[in-house]
Amino acid sequence: MVQGINLALHEEMQRDPKVLVMGQDVGVNEGVFRVTAGLHAKFGETRVIDTPLAESGILGTAVGMALAGLRPVAEMQFSGFSYLALGHLEGHCSRYRARTHGALSVPLVLRMPYGGGVRALEHHSESREAMFAHLPGIKVVIPSGPRNARALMTAAIQDPDTVVFMEPKHSYRAFREDVPEEPELMDIGKAHVVQEGSELTVITWGAMLRKTLEAVSEVQAKREASVEVIDLLSISPMDTKTIAKSVRKTGRCVVVQEAPRSFGTASEVIARINDTALMYLEAPVGRVASFDIVTPYFAREQNYFPGVEDIRRGMIKTLDY
């Protein structure tokens, strides 16, 4: 996935001279996860900017650059540090367009590694997509593999609104996948049906997709269950249509999220199912998630993040209801 995102950055910087990359250690050092590898060497320090350690300054400056005609891609080294910049997402990115009735907008990408995967506690491992998605006017996307990461990043850079691009660091180097020669563009706001099925819908995103697919194949191996899997990809706007269509067909649904259980994206998915498919349900919609606590220290991490077994159990419970 690191290479997929990196490829999109190279392609977009090549295509459009207005695109630039900025953040802590993104230039000469090519980013702590090497997502910005090769950019500094190729495009130079004017377009690949090593910034001071100042999250609020980084995003606030990026807002000004976007208003003045550039297309900044700003990095937060870890999503846990983005809270210092939240004021600008809330105060400017989310509302410039509405506040000026379309006269001005803030087309920038705020990218950040998030979620478990480096066995570090708290801010280095948490999932706060719901917090960003709660802001009107902000788009929030999460890729699940190299190919959609590249296509989503391309779309995010070309998007006329602010896009928060959250990179599940657990998937950064988890697996390989071929990407096409030509740049791909993905519609932001569209979910992807990863596998079709007729008895249960499992909805997830980010690093949980791989665990979910593992759990699904275990369940399918043990019993004749036909499971549909949806990769949300875009947290906001959310693809209610695809969700509704699937749940109306299967009548059962489990939502799997890495984030804490309450007030999260899963809750929103379930609310939308209530709005659009309630009468088709044969069981309450299940939710597999982390506990409502901060991400614990690594030795206890496996008790915190939903594992394959948790997902499997969640599926069985809903299937047997």
């Binding site: 300054g57 400056t61 000004g64 400017h92 509405a98 006017g137 788009k139």
Partner: protein
């Protein structure tokens, strides 16, 4: 740079216009037809006028909640301002933003942030964009002493110095953040006065003197335009009115009435008017004609604003995202 007589008179006219606009807003505010909190800049007119006099429409301004002066001085439309205060469709943001979020992109007024300090990195980023795009534009950031308490000022100015950005920080130190004095909140004068001049040129001026502001702004803006990097001008001034709304509280609740009176005798508009009259650059008749034209313009702006329609209810949820 000293001002020619003609230029001085013209800048006085702009200050007087701004003052009279604020006075009119103040006198009609109780009617409750202006549906927005207002932060009047009465007593601070010399700053926005003296600075913006050096800017073209390509240069930009990043403003704050006390924004009427920045907006009008930059050339923002008066009719659109007054309509905006009335939440009307003909307002500068079509009745969506209100007093604290004025925008007029045609003249380079790229927005005000109601988040104190919010406009500081934005104006810094615009300067970064001008530099990267090879444009000879200047970005001006207006901020108050309250914003000077915020950490993002440090982040922004540091970045501007580092990248030698064409940005001019105009620090309007009016002595108060709402009810708390600058001295009660800041341990010493702004730290950036201590940076080396080759990193950033800074100066402190009497913000109630058009000539002083004008001279410092001329230096700072020329510096920015010629690649000389950022600069900061601290304009010492005073917020004569209350933090928001109309009127002056002279009960001594949080500030000494004598302090208010002292500053009222150092009023930027009255001072300049007396000076122009004393020098014979303006006579009573000329002054009356000037004021009459301004009043007529303001009358018309209010008339038009009241007549303008409210935004359509159907539009309430529009422009959350791009609609093209």
């Amino acid at each position: 740079m000293t001002l020619s007589s003609a230029r001085r008179i013209e800048l006085f006219r702009r200050m007087l216009r701004l003052r009279n606009v604020e006075l009119r807003i103040e006198s009609l505010y109780h009617e409750d037809r202006m549906k927005t909190p207002v932060h009047l800049c009465i007593g601070q007119e010399a700053i926005s006028v003296g600075v913006c006099a050096h800017l073209t429409n390509d240069d930009s301004v990043s403003s704050n909640h006390r924004s009427h002066g920045h907006y009008l001085a930059k050339g923002g439309g008066l009719n659109e301002l007054i309509a905006e205060l009335h939440c009307k469709e003909s307002g500068c943001t079509k009745g969506r933003g209100g007093s604290m979020h004025l925008v007029d992109t045609a003249v380079g007024h790229m927005g005000s942030s109601s988040i104190v300090g919010g406009g500081v990195p934005i104006g810094t980023g615009m300067a970064m964009a001008y530099k990267m795009r090879g444009l000879a534009r200047v970005s001006v950031v207006f901020f108050g002493d309250g914003a000077a308490d915020e950490g993002v000022l440090y982040e922004s100015v540091n970045f501007a110095m580092l990248k030698r950005l064409p940005v001019v920080y105009i620090y309007e130190n009016n002595g108060y953040s709402v009810c708390t004095t600058t001295r009660e909140r800041q341990a010493q004068e702004l730290i950036f006065h201590q940076v080396l001049p080759n990193k950033m040129w800074t100066q402190t001026v009497d913000g109630n003197s058009l000539d002083a502001v004008n001279a410092a702004a001329a230096t700072a803006i020329a510096l920015a335009r010629s690649g000389g990097g950022p600069s900061l001008i601290e304009c010492k001034t005073y917020r004569v009115r209350e933090h928001a709304g109309s009127g002056v509280d002279r009960t001594g609740k949080y500030r000494d009435p004598a302090e208010i009176e002292r500053w009222e005798t150092h009023d930027p508009v009255h001072g300049l008017r007396a000076d122009l009259l004393a020098r014979g650059l303006l006579d009573q008749k000329g002054l009356e004609a000037m004021e009459a034209a301004i009043e007529a313009e303001i009358d018309e702006a209010f008339r038009a604003a009241v007549k303008s329609p409210l935004p359509l209810d159907e539009d309430l949820t529009r422009y959350v995202y791009c609609e093209d």
